[in-house]
Symmetry: C2
Subunit: 269 residues, 2 copies
């Protein structure tokens, strides 16, 4: 199949252009796309180099490239728009409607979408450090500070979800493993008593959990379907008994897990 080249062009990190473009492209199946991010295109000189590059790719044959652009400079966009490509321009599409609605002129300031903000940066770093220090029940020193405590048997996806919530949303998220001794009864680890309102349970499918555990400990009892199945069953019994909300992570991305937890716990992003 001939590949179609897709360029994400931005005057900043490229995150918005990639998110926009990738979201739209997930609607088209069975296509072969070759994707390139071209961040920090903030001057007409850089735009000219970029346009030459896109035109060069277009000239090598195959279908016309797609360009998803979030650049805000009129000069930069004037150069890019003349490429031999389908030019999809976030700024131009929406900014005039928003300007009319808000009654304020856009600043045309570049690279603003994911730029530095000391207060936000510090909050995220604090949350990341908290998540790292309290990961997997390593520390219970400041459990009271947690906004959210994920609980689950080992390898259900607690760590990436807590880290994601800390990193993206500055949420003080931590996680705590349910060990054999907790699952046998089943009962909450004593350390968590008094923190019930912050708990959120994670479960999975035995086959998926077994696969993940086998990566770490191939052929172990820990990774066996029987053991995974037992632990998940006991965990779910515990969640129900204690009325702890829970989610099955087996077919979810990190982003979906995070969005689900935020949504169900009513945590502000």
């Amino acid at each position: 199949m001939t590949t179609r080249h897709v360029f994400f062009v931005s005057d900043g990190t490229g995150i918005t252009a990639e998110t926009l473009g990738n979201t739209l492209l997930t609607q088209f199946e069975g296509m072969d796309f070759t994707k390139s991010s071209l961040p920090f295109i903030s001057t007409t000189d850089k735009a000219r180099v970029t346009a030459d590059y896109i035109n060069h790719v277009a000239s090598t044959g195959g279908p016309r490239p797609l360009v998803f652009s979030t650049t805000v400079s009129d000069g930069v966009r004037a150069v890019l728009r003349n490429c031999n490509a389908l030019f999809i321009d976030l700024f131009d599409t929406y900014i005039h409607g928003l300007e009319a609605e808000l009654g304020v002129a856009p600043t045309h300031a570049q690279g603003r979408a994911h730029s530095a903000n000391t207060r936000r940066y510090d909050a995220r770093i604090e949350a990341i450090n908290y998540a790292l220090e309290h990961d997997d029940g390593q520390s219970v020193r400041e459990l009271g500070k947690a906004e959210l405590i994920l609980i689950a048997p080992s390898r259900c996806g607690k760590t990436p979800t807590s880290l994601y919530l800390a990193m993206q949303h500055g949420i003080f998220a931590t996680n705590f493993p349910l060990l054999d001794e907790d699952l046998e009864k089943p009962a909450l680890p004593k350390t968590l008593l008094g923190h019930e309102s912050k708990l959120f349970g994670v479960t999975s499918e035995p086959e998926r959990l077994s696969q993940v555990r086998n990566e770490r400990r191939p052929g172990s009892r820990y990774a066996s379907i029987a053991q995974c199945s037992y632990e998940l069953r006991q965990a779910e019994t515990l969640y129900r008994k204690q009325q702890i909300p829970f989610v099955n992570s087996a077919n979810m991305s990190i982003e979906e897990m995070a969005a689900t937890v935020l949504h169900e716990k009513g945590l502000k992003r």
Copy 2:
């Protein structure tokens, strides 16, 4: 100032709707927005509840709400579109142009943008675990596996950048502190010899570094401007001497740091 309500409505996580909307809104300064994410709106029943909510907010006075939607279901959008709000519809705006260009009908499959993909999930988890195990030079067991090794004096932002690269891009990123004994000479820590091509340096501004260190160790020599200034100067001398590319993190977000490192090292996202 009257606040204007902004809703990010999605049939999935809401990430694309938020990214799109927030990017556009950064262009308008001096406005007061109250933002709400409404994820997982995937049925017309949920759309009706959502529309009622938006209409209720609109009816309480103040300017008309803004709705950024990435929902793909025609039924869901038909309900939302009738709200008393400015409706900004990513799907409708671009999908027809893309369909014409690609010659393929969109699937209308919901929640695809940030949905599960086992291969991608596993790659991210592996990279996150790697970043956690090798954070701050904790382990050098598998340094050979690293695609990137960030080096810097303490608290310049190595850890969040490595974690972000692992989380978002599945990159095997690790980081290694430059200690007094390295900075005095200045010379690379012995462990890093042979890994020069993977190194990327981070620097900062003395005032900013001092502020960050003071959070951890208020009033310490470690946090003093003099010490921060000395360490950053020595680190920069080391980077230049060893021809290690480097970036100043003082005025950058985590996303900008990550995008800069990827870009400069030519690492594939």
